[in-house]
Structure formats: structure tokens, C-alpha cells
């Protein structure tokens, strides 16, 4: 899996939301995103039992 590049993601998401990230804030925002990414990896590694391909539209 490609390693998470917090800066690349930050730039793309900030452009999509039209939220400017000042140059002096970039490192700190990227570091926060990297911390969130680490938490997300824990949660994304969990799959609902017997539900790996669950379709959210299904009852």
C-alpha cells in the first residue's frame, strides 16, 4: 500500500474545500493529519464480522 503522504493529501483536500493553508501552518496541519491517519488505520483494519462487503443500502 502506498504510504500516506499527509502534505499531498492536505493540499488536495484544502483545494477541494477552498480552505487556504498558510505556509507557516503547513507542517503542523500535516502532522495533525498524520496523527489522525494513524488512528484511522486502527479503525479501518477492523471489519464488521461477516460483513466485509456490506452494501450500506442493504437492510
Amino acid at each position: 500500500m502506498t504510504p500516506f503522504d499527509a502534505c499531498t493529501y492536505m493540499d488536495a483536500a484544502a483545494a477541494a474545500l477552498a480552505v487556504p493553508i498558510p505556509p507557516e501552518r503547513r507542517d503542523a496541519v500535516a502532522a495533525n493529519l498524520a496523527r489522525l491517519h494513524a488512528l484511522a488505520q486502527e479503525v479501518l483494519a477492523w471489519q464488521p464480522p461477516g460483513d466485509a462487503l456490506h452494501d450500506p443500502q442493504d437492510p
Binding site: 492536505m10 477552498a18 480552505v19 498558510p22 496541519v29 489522525l36 479503525v43 464488521p48
Partner: protein, 453 residues
């Protein structure tokens, strides 16, 4: 002087004295305002006062009594609210420069209305981390709130103003808010009681900020006051049985193992062990998937806290608190799939917690990994490892945040040392079980909320 005016008088004592005529509500309010004037500058708990309003309400209560009217269960009891809760006549800032110049609230939040309907008197707003994002109440707009037990230390957060006001003896009751631990954490560090009620049982009408897993809750210096405040502020279902003082007989008690025995220092471990001994708890219970529950709750709260702040992040970034600005920017950029997967986990995990509660009624857990660290400390050392202060202080409150269940911090007596609490955890709408256990600890002399000298 009546006991109701002494330092550290309980809400129950004050209300009884006002109802009996031993003291007037007006004198209670004047004594409270004098204490705030004398002590608040050192701890910085109150950020705004409602002096005229408090005097007017006190006068109304005294007139009601004089004319033979019925007074409520909290008659004349002063309280403060976290600065995210609307109080008519005060600007609700949520600790943010972004809202400093906003118009004053024109109506009270539902919890304020409920408490005042019970006779309590709101005297002002209490400091917090900006929009509740933080665990130390180090606020650039108002300055940090200081721990009354040691002024160089944090009061915890984000309801740090509430906990400090109680520990300093300024008011007997306060209303805080808790998403990941913002009531339970400062309650532990300041040595007071704090309840995170069952999610959805306290109205959030008139409250700024806080995500979907957050709830308002009472904070107090005695278990009886905490219960009285909770009774007054909640939306009780029709026909609900009242909480009794039945002790812990018949309750199945357990102590958390695994995750909840890691990352706690000797002070925290001692508090839990003494509480377990006093309650004769021998059974160890594993809270399911604690580490994942913590991660999921943090992701959910992280996604929800920037809601409504997108325009401000685009146009008024410099007005955000330096302590939160970079975090809000990161939070607003978070991928939605992280949030949705965390919510899927949370829904499943609620069922796992329900299964756990099939074999135990109340779980005893640590509240914080250590006592209050000094203000401005970037890391805290536990078991020889340096860990980031903010997220680590909430290590034991965060895993419970997504469960919808009530949790209560109880202050453990410490013989002059810095305070620390333990957490009690119960199934949804079983706050009565939490109060029973807390009252037993209090009756045994182990749970004490000391007013700082």
C-alpha cells in the same frame, strides 16, 4: 452564621437553609459573589458574571418564600455553566475570539432554564478550551484556568473552569460538557465529582459546539449534589423510578482490566485499588475493544468539531486559538470514509458493551493516568515513557465516549496530596447505579471533594 454560608457548603445544605428561612437567597448570592471576587483572579475559572440577574432571581426566591410560596429543590443554589451554554445577558463565547463580539444571548439554554425552574441561580460562565477542543483549559482569549490545589498546574479540560470553580469553593454546582472526557477529566484533576450522563438525556438546546457524541452534565462537590443537579437538568422518561440510596447491595461490581491497567501511574493505580478495596471488588472485567473504541471516538469527534466553522477557517483563521487552529484545519480536511468507518465500529461496539453489561452492573476504571501536570507541559511521563499531554490525559475517558453509557468521576481522598479520581461506568440510563456506588465510597470516607485552601 448559618452553615449554608460556610466555605464548601453543599447545594443540598444551601437549598434546605433557604427553604427553611435560615438564610436568604440574597445573602447566599452576595456571599458567592464575594468569594468569586476574592478567589477567581488567581484561578481564572469565571469568564463572565451575571450579577444583576443573579440578584434579581435571588430576590424573587426570597419574595416567594416570604409570601408562602413553594420553593424548588435547589432553591437559592448558585451555579456556573461552561461558556458554551447560553445564559441570557451574556455573550456565549465557547472560549473563542471568533465569538467574543457576538451579541449577548437573549434566552437561556434549556439546562439553565431547568435548573432555575428548580430554584438554582446562575451566576456566570466558566472557562474552557476553545470550542471544547482540548484537555487543559489553556485559552488564549481568557488565559489558562489554574488548578486551585496547585496554581502552576492545569485544571484539566475542556470543562476546566467548572472543575476549578468547584474546587475553589466558588459555587457548589456547575454544568460542563463532555465529548471525549471534558467533564470526567477535569473532575479527576481538580478532585470533584463529574457525571457524563447517558447521551441524549440532556437537552442541548442553546449550546454552542460539541459533536454528536457530546453531552452536557453536572459537576459538584458531593454525590448527593451531583444527583440533585442531574435530577433537575435531565429529560426524565415518563414513569421512571426515582434513584434511591440503597447502597450497593445487589449490584454486580467489576474492575476494568487490560487497557485500563496500562498507562496509569502509581497515583492513579492507588486510587483505583483503594476504591476496589472499599467496594470489595475482586472481579476483573475486560472492556471490549478499548483501543479501537478510543480511536473511533476520537475520529468521530474530530470530524464533527469543525462543523459550522468552514467559513471562519477560510476567512478568520487568525482569530482561532493557536492551541486549536492547526487541529481545526486538519479536522476539516479529514476523509469522510474515516468518519463513516468509525461510526460503523461504534454502532457495533455499542452491542459489545451491552453484552459486557450482561454480567456486570458497574465497572470501576481509572479516570486519568496521573494527577494534574503543570500548565504548558507538552508531554507527561508515565512508566518512563513521555507521552503527549492532551490525548494522554483522556486515555481512560475516550474509550467510553462512543458508548452512549453514563460515566461518573469520583474524587478519591488523598491526605493533602494532589487530587485524582476514579471512573464508574454503567449501562444507559443507570445513573442511579453510579450514584449508589459513589455514595457508598463517600460514606466510607474514601470519596472526598476538598475545597482548596
Amino acid at each position: 452564621m448559618t452553615d449554608a454560608l460556610r466555605d464548601g457548603a453543599s447545594a443540598v445544605e444551601i437549598a434546605a437553609a433557604v427553604r427553611s428561612g435560615a438564610v436568604t437567597a440574597g445573602l447566599v448570592v452576595e456571599t458567592t459573589l464575594a468569594r468569586i471576587a476574592a478567589r477567581n483572579p488567581a484561578i481564572n475559572a469565571f469568564t463572565a458574571l451575571a450579577i444583576d440577574r443573579a440578584r434579581e432571581r435571588a430576590a424573587r426566591i426570597d419574595m416567594t418564600r416570604a409570601s408562602g410560596g413553594t420553593l424548588g429543590p435547589l432553591a437559592g443554589v448558585p451555579f456556573g455553566v461552561k461558556a458554551m451554554i447560553d445564559v441570557a445577558g451574556i455573550t456565549t463565547t465557547a472560549g473563542s475570539k471568533l465569538l467574543r463580539d457576538a451579541p449577548r444571548a437573549t434566552r437561556d439554554a434549556a439546562v439553565v432554564r431547568k435548573l432555575e425552574a428548580a430554584g438554582a441561580i446562575c451566576v456566570g460562565a466558566l472557562n474552557m478550551d476553545e470550542f471544547g477542543l482540548g484537555g487543559t483549559t489553556e485559552n488564549a482569549l481568557y488565559g489558562p484556568t489554574r488548578n486551585p490545589h496547585d496554581l502552576v498546574r492545569t485544571a484539566g479540560g475542556s470543562s476546566g473552569g467548572c472543575a476549578a470553580a468547584l474546587a475553589a469553593g466558588l459555587v457548589p454546582l456547575a454544568i460542563g460538557g463532555d465529548a471525549l472526557g471534558s467533564i470526567r477529566l477535569p473532575a479527576s484533576l481538580c478532585g470533584v465529582y463529574g457525571l457524563r450522563p447517558t447521551r441524549g438525556t440532556i437537552s442541548r438546546d442553546g449550546v454552542i459546539g460539541g459533536g454528536g457524541i457530546s453531552t452536557l452534565g453536572p459537576m459538584a462537590r458531593t454525590a448527593g449534589d451531583l444527583r440533585a443537579c442531574h435530577d433537575a437538568m435531565r429529560d426524565a422518561p415518563p414513569g421512571e423510578r426515582p434513584a434511591g440510596d440503597a447502597g450497593t447491595s445487589g449490584l454486580r461490581l467489576g474492575i476494568g482490566g487490560g487497557y485500563f491497567r496500562e498507562r496509569l501511574d502509581a497515583d492513579a493505580a492507588d486510587a483505583v485499588d483503594r476504591a476496589a478495596q472499599a467496594l470489595s471488588i475482586a472481579r476483573v472485567v475486560e472492556f471490549p475493544y478499548a483501543r479501537l473504541a478510543r480511536a473511533a471516538a476520537m475520529l468521530i469527534n474530530t470530524s464533527e468539531t469543525p462543523v459550522g466553522k468552514l467559513d471562519a477557517l477560510r476567512t478568520r483563521l487568525d482569530d482561532f486559538d493557536p492551541a486549536t487552529r492547526d487541529r481545526f484545519l486538519a479536522h476539516v480536511l479529514m476523509p469522510v470514509q474515516w468518519y463513516l468507518h468509525a461510526q460503523r465500529f461504534r454502532e457495533w461496539h455499542i452491542g459489545e458493551v451491552r453484552k459486557m453489561f450482561e454480567t456486570v452492573d458497574v465497572l470501576l476504571l481509572p479516570a486519568t493516568p496521573c494527577v494534574a501536570p503543570p500548565l504548558g507541559t507538552p508531554t507527561i511521563r508515565i512508566d518512563g515513557v513521555d507521552l503527549p499531554t492532551g490525548p494522554t490525559l483522556g486515555w481512560f475517558t475516550q474509550p467510553l465516549a462512543g458508548t452512549d453509557c453514563p460515566a461518573l468521576t469520583v474524587p478519591i481522598a488523598r491526605d493533602g496530596r494532589l487530587p485524582i479520581g476514579v471512573q464508574l461506568f454503567a449501562p444507559p440510563r443507570r445513573e442511579d447505579w453510579l450514584f449508589r456506588v459513589a455514595m457508598r465510597l463517600e460514606a466510607a470516607g474514601l470519596a472526598i471533594a476538598r475545597v482548596a485552601s
